[in-house]
Amino acid sequence: MAETRLAFKAGRAFRRGSTNFVDPDPTKGAILLQNGEDGLLHFIWKNRSNNDVEEDLILFPGDATFAKVEQSAWGRTYVLKFSSSDQRHFFWMQDANGSRDEEFVGNVNRLLADPSIVPIWYSEGYNPNSQAAGPSTSTSAPAASSSQAPGSYQATPEELARIRQIVTSLGARGGAPAAEPEPEILLTDVLTPANLRPLFRSNPELVQSLFPHLPPDLPSPPNVETLERIVQSPQFRAAVRNLDMALRTGLLGGLVRTLGLPEEAGTGVEPFLRALQDQARREEGGGDRMETD
């Protein structure tokens, strides 16, 4: 019985004639890496509409790599390419949430290089590209040594247990994506009009202090309605979404410094919010102030 090592949603893309264009095929599919009954690693593409396996490639260690297609404007196109031939298979990520692309792709390449490895799944809040030095700044990830090279990672015993659990659940579900993430905080759920409206209504001083941060070329002078309009606008929501995604890369240390926050604040959404709460406390001038009323 074949053992699924990892699986994720992906569609195929095909070269357009002899051009350099690759067109995505909309068929819903999944890439699965399985240890076959033959003892070999199989790179499989399965059609999710009818569950048919439409591609089944046997790959020996080092035969192939799974690389990002940098020239793809869409950004989530990958190519399986072979060391010994010109063969190319193109794929595109089909999970609406792209924040785990790197994780999946990293594991694909690790398995392609050495099918005996255990896939590495990031725990909540952990990002191996984080610039944070010293103990972990996220709530549940184990401490990552600051001397580690980005991208390399040694699992702790707790994580190995979790990884074993995930791999088992992968097999049981027959290829479904890995265990559910624990509740995260999305900035887009924090800065909702519903959360902001009461703030505007009850805080005229805050409202005034916000005006200088608004676009300087508004057609008419701002008021509370302007604020409400802006926080509901697609442009503002896109900016919040972008900031959320950017924070998740863990690479915003430099940017958050310009806001008077420590570098750790740029390593994720929760660190960012915690650092903001610290900053608020400091600006209010008291360390004993209770955060909730």
């Binding site: 949603k9 051009t19 350099n20 264009f21 067109d23 909309p26 819903k28 999710r48 297609v69 020239q71 793809s72 404007a73 869409w74 950004g75 989530r76 609406a96 692309d101 559910e180 993430p181 509740p183 995260e184 905080i185 999305l186 900035l187 759920d189 924090v190 800065l191 959360n195 009461p198 009850s202 916000l210 941060h213 608004l214 676009p215 070329d217 508004l218 057609p219 008419s220 802006i230 606008s233 442009q235 503002f236 896109a238 900016a239 972008n242 900031l243 995604m245 950017a246 890369t249 940017l255 806001l259 919010l273 903001l276 709460q277 900053q279 608020a280 406390r281 209770m290 955060e291 909730t292």
Partner: protein, 322 residues
């Protein structure tokens, strides 16, 4: 993959009539772009004289490079036609293709020079000339958020909104032409008659035929109309009517002018929102929440919302892409 997918400093813009109209203003072109919700005679009549139609649709896999029904490639097309060389520039490219062939069009000096420069160029070279034009790129980028918070270097997943494609329909030398920056040449769709609705009647046929080739509901598209700015004309008509004492007709025009002006104000508001970097505003909002003592409760609410979404997804079809 084609090397022309590199963004070359062109940022992604929204395909909104307000954005297109602002771009035209920057180029010194006195035309306006409006959403067209219907191709019926009444809707089109309001926008005459109509200079070009832009058909936007989500890129569907398997797009063949054959011209759509009824058309033929015209590689000898003597007018302006540029290939799409950089994906992010597609909106501006569509605007260029839609206005470059309008006879006697008023425009700013830089655009005029650019059109002279590209005269006689093949579509690929023409596209590259547009893409290498610094001032044009700056005019284009002015309509999207400043790159301080641009994510191009961070390798982040893009949303599916990026996949819009633009096709321009124009009248040229008595025929309706389709200018598609991803096709090898303009497509000639046949002659139109000058009377009545003119070229738009033929264009309507062609566009409706194209829409009909997709299964119902499979194609997400919208239509934009490039036409003269109606405000000067309406204002002149209004003064004439008022001078002649035709009060009721004058008040109708007042209403139309008011509607048009409020739309322009909305566009100006949205464009100023588009150009803005929200980092400072977001910081101030979160700080404000923290100081008001509500951030903890909000964070808990956010965690709950996230959890609820996961539960919903588990219950629903697990493998569908949003």
């Amino acid at each position: 993959m084609s090397g022309d997918d590199d963004s070359s400093g062109w940022q992604l813009t929204e395909s909104d009539p307000g954005v297109f109209t602002e771009l035209l203003k920057t180029l010194g072109v006195p035309l306006v772009v409006d959403d067209l919700y219907s191709l019926d005679s009444a809707s089109l009549a309001e926008l005459q004289p109509l200079h070009a139609l832009i058909f936007l649709f989500k890129w569907v896999a398997g797009q063949s490079s054959e011209p759509s029904s009824g058309g033929q490639y015209d590689p000898e097309f003597p007018g302006f036609f540029a290939h799409q060389v950089v994906n992010n520039a597609c909106a501006t490219l569509a605007v260029m293709n839609s206005i470059a062939n309008i006879p006697g069009l008023q425009m700013g000096a830089q655009l005029s020079e650019l059109f002279s420069f590209t005269q006689g160029m093949d579509p690929q070279t023409c596209g590259m000339a547009l893409t290498s034009s610094d001032w044009l790129r700056e005019a284009h980028n002015a309509l999207s958020p400043p790159s301080a918070i641009s994510l191009d270097g961070l390798d982040l997943p893009r949303t599916s909104e990026d996949a819009y494609h633009f096709v321009v329909y124009i009248p040229y030398a008595g025929s309706v032409y389709e200018l598609d920056g991803l096709k090898e040449a303009p497509v000639r769709h046949g002659e139109y008659s000058e009377g009545g609705e003119g070229w738009v009647a033929k264009a309507r046929e062609v566009i409706e035929a194209r829409i009909a080739t997709y299964p119902p509901g499979a194609l997400e598209f919208s239509l934009l109309a490039v036409h003269d700015d109606p405000i000067p004309r309406l204002q002149e008509q209004l003064s004439q009517l008022q001078a002649a004492g035709h009060q009721s007709e004058a008040s109708e025009l007042v209403v139309r002018l008011a509607t048009e002006n409020s739309k322009r104000e909305r566009w100006a508001f949205e464009n100023s929102l588009r150009r803005h970097n929200y980092l400072g505003f977001i910081h101030a909002l979160l700080l404000g929440m923290a100081k008001a003592g509500t951030l903890d409760a909000v964070k808990d609410g956010a965690k709950k919302a996230f959890q609820e979404r996961i539960e919903k997804r588990k219950k629903g079809e697990a493998m569908d892409e949003d």
